[in-house]
């Protein structure tokens, strides 16, 4: 679906994106993670042919970009760095103008498609109001509606839930999952780890212009081989387990034990009360923080 190899973008001496490889397969919900300034937006812009790479190649739908932009982009819906619309027009008119530009938006179905996407993103009631009267969340929804207008096979979304309230985020997540089930591949760039964790099947992590991690979510979330035990009897637990207990505080012990059930039986047999016990899984946040350096907008003296 998306295949980038050796993608590099230099602005003068600044290397915004440094020799990255990306592979997004059909059916993926791909989470593209990275701190502010790590090169996410530049990469998204290169994928869409807005910024020309210094070197490297991009293929969308197995066609070279930006050379085949005219054939490829009508099959792509995108949201790049926030939505924007003609402010003095109504949401409906804006979408109609947008659809009239470029190929792939047949005129006879335009009215119906606009009504459909406005309905999908939850703006059906305000389609005739001017965009300048929209709230931030409504503009975000309108941007999403624009991306969905031509029922794209691939959605490239840069921070799609920016400015939305928790309910809105939930709605967008449901919408993306529904679209994905219907066959749409989603490429989602974000720095909201929780959002990506709940939604994505694969993630790529960008740090200062380099891809430091590209893996399926299932692989990342496989248990680490350790078990976390919550117990009121911390002293007896530590005595029983000896050096198998790797970390502990007042109420929890992290134990090197791949089978939580066996550990539980052992503890209970020894008369240790267990209030909770679970295999340790690293959260996406821990994984990303371990893979990346300090934030790019942090500037130390």
């Amino acid at each position: 679906m998306i295949a980038a190899t050796g993608l590099t973008k230099r602005y003068g001496s600044l290397c915004a994106v440094d020799d990255i490889d990306l592979a997004v397969h059909p059916g993926d919900i791909y989470g593209f993670l990275g701190a502010n300034g790590s090169g996410k937006t530049t990469t998204v812009r290169m994928l869409l042919g807005l910024v020309l790479p210094t070197s490297g190649s991009i293929r969308l739908f197995d066609e070279a970009m930006p050379k085949a932009a005219h054939q490829v982009l009508p099959r792509v819906g995108a949201l790049v760095e926030g939505p924007s619309a003609y402010r003095h027009l109504s949401g409906h008119t804006h979408l109609s103008l947008l659809d009239g530009m470029g190929p792939g938006g047949p005129r006879d179905s335009r009215r119906r498609r606009i009504a459909d996407v406005l309905d999908q993103v939850g703006l059906a009631g305000v389609g005739s109001r001017p965009v300048k009267a929209y709230s931030l969340g409504m503009r975000q929804r309108l941007g999403l509606a624009g991306a969905l207008l031509r029922s794209p096979e691939l959605l490239i979304l840069d921070e799609p839930t920016n400015g939305l309230d928790p309910q809105g985020i939930h709605e967008v997540r449901d919408l993306l999952l529904t679209l994905n089930r219907a066959g749409t591949t989603v490429f989602l760039s974000s720095h909201l780890l929780a959002e990506v964790e709940q939604l994505c099947t694969r993630v790529g992590v960008l740090d200062r212009g380099r891809v430091v991690l590209e893996e399926t979510m299932d692989t990342l979330r496989t248990p680490s081989g350790r078990t976390v035990v919550h117990t009121p009897d911390i002293g007896r637990t530590l005595a029983l387990l000896g050096d198998r207990a790797e970390q502990y505080d007042d109420v929890t012990v992290t134990v090197r034990a791949p089978d939580p059930a066996a550990l539980n039986a052992e503890l209970v047999q020894a008369g240790v009360r267990v209030s909770a016990l679970a295999p340790e899984r690293r959260s996406l946040e821990q994984i990303v923080l371990a893979a990346t350096g300090p934030s790019a907008d942090r500037v130390d003296a």
Binding site: R45, L50, L52, V80, L97, M101, P103, G104
Partner: protein, 268 residues
């Protein structure tokens, strides 16, 4: 694409405000002339203005001569300067280009939309001026050419139409310059001011004898040459040169705009 650009033009409130403002000046002049009956002496002031006191139906030409030196090009600079930079500033340029709209196509569509704006403005001005002129000003058909011989009303009509076309076409140079600047800057204001500065420089150099060698190439040089269309016989030389010169400006600056824009990184 051109259809969408025209729709944008028509739907934009600014288009109509600009045209209304453009229209206001000649209308004000007509009212003042009607009230005071004080026309400029023949041969002074804007072209045709001395004639309209006796023949109001010539007022469309006078109105064009009033707005052509500054008002109309200023409006063109604003509209054309906004063409790309305005989309960039509003954030819509990136969405336009990923539809995808070809960049060359976009430039041409924008230039045609500016031309449509000028044509619309000129027509509105001419129609208003005709109505105001015939209602408020003189009604003795004067209809003589600038050279003094008589012109039939059909001759006046088609020569007027030709003048309006020439005035519209004269704005192409400014439009191309502003469009080029619009691809350089993300600020519509900067692009419009740049084009205006170019015009003011051109106007100034026209008054300077030392700039004689440059004068045939200045974009404003032949603007008022449409007066020549009312000579008998028509003096085509300057009209043809003016048209060709505008063509050269379009080729050069549209080319420069294309060279800059076609491979530009869109980071707005």
């Amino acid at each position: 694409m051109i259809r969408v650009e025209l729709r944008k033009l028509i739907l934009s409130p600014r288009t109509w405000v600009t045209i209304a403002l453009l229209d206001a000046l000649p209308t004000l002049v007509a009212i003042l002339l009607a009230l005071t009956d004080l026309g400029p002496r023949p041969g002074t002031g804007p072209a045709f203005l001395s004639a309209v006191l006796s023949d109001g139906s010539l007022f469309p030409l006078a109105a064009i001569a009033i707005v052509l030196p500054l008002f109309l090009p200023a409006a063109v600079a604003v509209i054309a300067g906004d063409a790309i930079a305005g989309e960039a500033q509003g954030g819509t340029l990136r969405y336009l280009l990923i539809r995808p709209v070809g960049r060359t196509r976009l430039l041409v569509a924008k230039l045609l939309a500016v031309l449509a704006f000028v044509l619309l403005a000129v027509l509105v001005i001419a129609v208003t001026a005709y109505i105001v002129g015939t209602l408020l000003l003189g009604d003795q058909p004067l209809a003589t050419s600038v050279s003094g011989s008589a012109l039939s009303s059909s001759q006046v009509a088609w020569r007027t139409a030709l003048s309006l076309c020439y005035a519209t076409f004269s704005m192409l140079g400014v439009a191309a310059i502003a469009l080029f600047l619009s691809t350089l800057s993300d600020s519509p204001l900067a692009a419009a001011m740049g084009a205006l500065a170019f015009l003011i420089a051109s106007t100034l150099l026209l008054t300077l004898d030392a700039a004689n060698v440059l004068q045939p190439y200045l974009p404003t040089r032949y603007w008022l040459s449409f007066v020549d269309l009312f000579r008998d016989p028509i003096l085509w030389r300057n009209v043809v040169r003016g048209t060709a010169l505008q063509g050269v400006y379009v080729v050069v600056f549209l080319g420069a705009a294309w060279a800059n824009f076609a491979t530009k990184d869109i980071t707005s």
